[in-house]
């Protein structure tokens, strides 16, 4: 067991837990942040994506022990921001959402891209989302959603 202090969605959290537990389980089970989904448990699908210190990570591959002092942003945090709202609006407008299981992770990947590159090309969006798998949409409408968010959210990133 180890005491770990980290920030989740801007709020400081201290938990006493096995440092080898997955960040995914800590977020979902201990903190009730179920917007983070488990799709494959091996870092392939991206459904469990969050931002850790500004970088997109698969929480199924991150032991909580390395999160000491980290800032974690989950869908629950992002959705409260203007950037999150711009992405949510754009996804709803372009039809980016079908079954929805990959979608919170896609939103996180979109934020990670736009934060670095506020006006991406289609090819750049494709590359940025390539670690997030979707089985419903064939990706086109999600890509359109990210481009729309970039356009509609000018100045936010």
């Amino acid at each position: 067991m180890a005491e770990i202090t980290f920030s989740v969605n801007g709020k400081s959290r201290t938990i006493d837990t096995n440092p080898l537990r997955r960040l995914l389980d800590v977020l979902r089970e201990d903190l009730g942040l179920t917007g983070v989904k488990e799709g494959c448990a091996e870092g392939e699908c991206g459904a469990c994506s969050v931002l850790k210190d500004g970088l997109l990570v698969n929480t199924c591959m991150v032991p909580i022990g390395i999160c000491e002092g980290s800032e974690i942003l989950t869908p629950e945090g992002l959705r409260e921001t203007d950037r999150g709202k711009a992405i949510i609006d754009a996804y709803a407008e372009t039809g980016a959402v079908q079954c929805g299981f990959c979608t919170p992770g896609m939103m996180m990947a979109s934020e990670a891209l736009l934060d670095k590159n506020p006006q991406p090309t289609e090819a750049e969006v494709r590359e940025a989302l390539s670690g997030n798998l979707c089985r419903c949409t064939g990706y086109d409408m999600i890509i359109e959603g990210v481009l729309k968010a970039a356009e509609g959210g000018k100045g936010l990133w």
Binding site: R28, L33, T34, G35, V36, K37, E38, G39, C40, A41, E42, E44, C45, A47, T74, P75, E76, R79, G84, I87, I88, Y91, A92, E93, G95, A96, V97, Q98, C99, G100, F101, C102, T103, P104, M107, E122, V125, R126, E127, L129, S130, G131, N132, L133, C134, R135, C136, T137, G138, Y139, D140, M141, I142, I143
Partner: protein
Amino acid sequence: MTNEISTPVERVDARAKTDGTARYLADMTFEGMLYAKAVRSERARAKIINVEVPRLPKGYYYIDASDIPSEGKNKIEIIKDDWPVFADREVRFIGDTIALIVGPDRGELNRLCREVKVEYEDLSPALTLDEAEELKGGPIHGHDNAFADYHLKKGEPEEAFKRADRIIEDVVSTGYQEHIYMEPQAVVVQPQKGGKLNVYFSGQCPFYVRHAVAATLGVEEGEVRVQQAVTGGAFGGKEHYPDVVSTSLAVAAHKTGRPVGYFFDRVEDISYTVKRHPSRTSFRTALDERGNVLAMDIDLKLNAGAYESCSMVVLQRSIFSVNSVYDIPNVKVRGRAFATNNVPSDAFRGFGAPQGLYAMEVHMSHLARALGLSELDFKRRYLLKKGGVTISNGHVHEEVKLPEMIERIDRMSGYRRKIEEFKPGGWRGIGFSMVNHGSGFTGSGEQDIIRAVVKIKKRADGYVELFASNVEMGQGPLTTFPKIAAAVLGIPVDKVIYNNPDTDLVPDSGPTVASRTIAIVGYLVQEAAKKLKARWNESGEPVVEQHYAPPSYLRWDQEKLEGDAYPSYGWGIKVIEVEVDPLTYEVETKGIWAVHDVGVAIDEQVVEGQVDGGIIQGLGWGSLEKLEVKDGRFLQRTMADYTIPTSMDFPKIESALVDNPYEYGPFGAKGAGELVFEGAAEAFTSAVQMAIDRDMQRIPVTPEYIMEVYENG
């Protein structure tokens, strides 16, 4: 498109799904819930001699066939009931459920399951179609291993073969496909006070689950209440498989009196849940001296796996689809679904049609290549038309707009120009496919088996509520059903409520399968709304029920499998352009174009989402998704080695719809969800064939397979 109904509205579930507030089953909490884990067969085919169960810690339970109540039965009533809830005397595939262990800690369950020692007496497994046909190890099913063996005959094929100038033989095969719904299988069974069981599940068919659970426990169906949770994709993989999970869980919940949940991990889901049937189709085609097709003799085989479940119905769709959009005058078909010692094959988007369509499209491309003709010109000779005779000796009752669609896709893609420009064998290719897909259950299934009912109610609070059992799994009915009702009633869409179904609250409008949700049930929604409109000014809360009635022109003989197999068809054309790397044989897809006739789109954006997703899933099946069996075990067991398309694999799709209203569809709509998948693998194959100037005989068309075909001449 000029139809007002088709104008997109925002999906009602879009925001909650994006921001993470939508609750899938694993996001919900059930007080006192235990988890379940299956003890699975490690052998493909064996007798069970003995099972040694380890000492279980307090709070853990071992559940097997002996726990099924005496009024119940150790059978899962899917369509056939040959799949046992718990394998007790023999195992038929690696992964067969022998028992469940349930308890509070999932890590502990994994450990306990590994400690169960099963003593087997091994039998010789039949894994391939050939081994099944040769009855390796003795029959698994019946006397010939055929779960179903059907024959179709159109025209006078025997006579026509006598007139043949030449006969071309061809064999086309398709592989396994895993659904990879992003949310793995999940079911929770929760006992209620008074003995009733609540089942919460991720899936497509609430009433199938209710029926299966009630039959296993030997209780009235009303004693089981099934509620669909937000479902993270299904594609057919959650049509019958939730019956398999929920029946064993119900036995566990019944024994323990506690809620019991089963949340598959991805490895377990890929390794042991159902798949698309692999197929092999052999053609003998008789041509006259001018290269016209006189007749075809077709033998189609499906690898159905260890239990029949619904394979005979899948096979029916395969054989009814095996002439695709063509009117071949004389045809003989034999179709068989073989029992093997693999994971059972079951429903997957298209339900057998993709295998039949793929075989025929690719065979037609081989005939055109053998005759030195343009694929398009050759195929055009045989297009079905309104009034034309189908392979089951029924008729096409609707206008076939394929000629118009061909011109449309040619303008979009430059197909004809590129055919001239890219020389065969020049490492660039452009492929073309045509397909159709019947909406609704095969034959008389809708009127004889399903008998769908929907209900609509005008509530005192000013809202209208719809009651039906068709689920949202990504394809849109939470939005499109209300859209249909709202348009009829002339009220805003957000004044119509449609929730995830609960069998205690909704009538049985049938399963969410077979491209029937809009075409069949959506029509009932429209008709119910019309009746409600006539009663709009009544006091109280008027309720209207609408029952399915088949179109008057439908004729079907289930014994002979003859007549109108489907009341209407969606039609599709796809064009795909590729470049093949002459060194690595890797294929880069340069363009994807599609034109579909789905009658009228209830929502253009929803349909486009289906088109995009269906094509990419079809291209996965056709080019990437390889699932191989070795000694009865899948070699690919994770998402790292079973790869589905990413955002980088294919370019943006350009698609269009043609208008062709269908009289018995809501606002003229027909089915779309499966049609869009079909034809993508065919067009890809056709493009690769042109690029390397060789015939391809199977999918997936991987670089390794292209190399094999190219280097062997």
